[in-house]
């Protein structure tokens, strides 16, 4: 172990965090926005529509993300129409290719996660909403989706962690995020241990933060707390200097 190199790595590698987080956050956002309509189509759409969405998610979840990335980055250049189109400016750039691949991949995973959440929303809740005279879009927006999101949150947390880790694949298409910078440093210094371990520690910090944040969000959104949480809520006064005697739901 060379502690000087570890120190060097600690100084150099954090500059890759920006790109890693940019790729992760943007692709998670794009993936989520894309997956909400897809999940509704997959859960409640006509059989043909649901099957089409399934074909998309199945293909993207069944193949390695590395293949998808290479297919987009190297493969699309084979089609003459793509090279001639205005999209070529975007598609020849590794950053946009990586972002595009990660978004499509994340959308496929998120669609299945949300779909399972949507399917486990109790029927009675939707019927109650309909009885109250809510329109279909209102039911989806105000009733089904919030409940489904709460149910899917633990699984979505895994998807967030998966995306942080998956963004390391961007290093294979020359992008210099954390893994890319680490590989570059290793090829210059021939000291794989020190540098990769520092890179691993940075990723561990990022993923642990994401896990913690999801857990906090889960606690915030949960309505049916455990007895312990309910006891806590009962002990905490609703307003300052205002004791409550009845249990708070």
């Amino acid at each position: 172990m060379n502690f000087g190199l570890i120190f060097d790595a600690l100084l150099v590698l954090p500059s890759g965090i920006g790109l890693t987080l940019t790729l992760t956050v943007l692709s998670l956002t794009a993936g989520f926005l894309l997956s909400v309509p897809l999940a509704f189509a997959r859960a409640f759409g006509r059989p043909s529509l649901s099957f089409t969405v399934l074909a998309y998610t199945y293909a993207f979840r069944g193949t390695p993300m590395l293949v998808q990335l290479f297919l987009l980055y190297y493969g699309l250049s084979q089609i003459e129409a793509v090279r001639a189109s205005i999209f070529w400016v975007i598609l020849r750039d590794p950053f946009w290719c990586a972002l595009f691949t990660f978004s499509l991949n994340s959308a496929a995973h998120t669609t299945e996660i949300l779909c399972r959440g949507l399917q486990s929303v109790p029927k009675g809740v939707v019927e109650a909403a309909r009885a109250l005279g809510l329109k279909r879009l209102q039911i989806a927006r105000l009733v089904t989706f919030p409940i489904a999101f709460r149910i899917s949150l633990p699984a979505y947390g895994n998807e967030i962690v998966g995306m942080i880790k998956g963004s390391s694949l961007a290093s294979t298409v020359t992008l210099l995020e954390i893994t890319g910078m680490a590989r570059q440093m290793v090829s210059a210094t021939f000291a794989p241990y020190e540098i990769f371990i520092v890179a691993g520690a940075i990723y561990l910090a990022l993923t642990s933060t994401a896990v913690k944040a999801t857990q906090i969000l889960e606690q915030r959104l949960s309505t049916d707390g455990t007895p312990k949480q309910r006891r806590k809520a009962r002990l905490r006064p609703a307003l300052p200097d205002h004791e409550i005697t009845t249990p708070v739901p």
């Binding site: 069944g62 998808q68 493969g75 893994t179 680490a182 290793v186 794989p192 990769f196």
Partner: protein, 219 residues
Amino acid sequence: MGGFAAQFTVAFLVTVSLALVSGFLGTAFGLLLAISKGTPAARFKGVVTTYTTVVRGVPELLIILLIYFGGTTFASKIAGRYVEVNAFTAGVIALTVVFSGYATEIFRGAIAAVPAGQTEAAKSLGLSTLQRWLFVVGPQMLRLALPAYGNLWISLFKDTALVSVVGLTDIMRVAYVGAGSLRAPLTFYLAASAFYLFLTTITLLSIRLAERRYPAFGR
């Protein structure tokens, strides 16, 4: 494309054997770690938790790179001359580490889900520790773990593609070489996708069959 058919066949076998070897090794280690974590006098509890947390929080690609390049440096230092750890060995070690990290957590969860009354009943019947694991906790735990364990195998098949980054001639590598030499990346990567999709489909189907054949007790 014709000459690549033979190469793809070999590469397919490389991918499958890499996945099978690391999957079975990973399962064995995962079971051992989960059982050691579940016993009351768990001395290694903290160590095992740290291991699974680290393995599950670090990219698979980074683990593969660390073991391939780090392994070469380590082996060279021990042997006193340049020794290269081959990509297959490095891949097996790295994927075993990843697989066992996840498998430990899955098995631990499944062990915890087996009602405590089962162990107590087995104890009161006078079964030894080994007998308890083999005949009472083991079968129930494995059935509970099956769905999550199946997903793990699917991710394992997908993760094998990452070992191509360190030069293993698996499906992904052959596609990369073929795409470069014949200037037909789209064709080759689509072929590679088809191979991986085939492998994950087979895995998915066998897991579904196993789930139907061995459903969790009491459900």
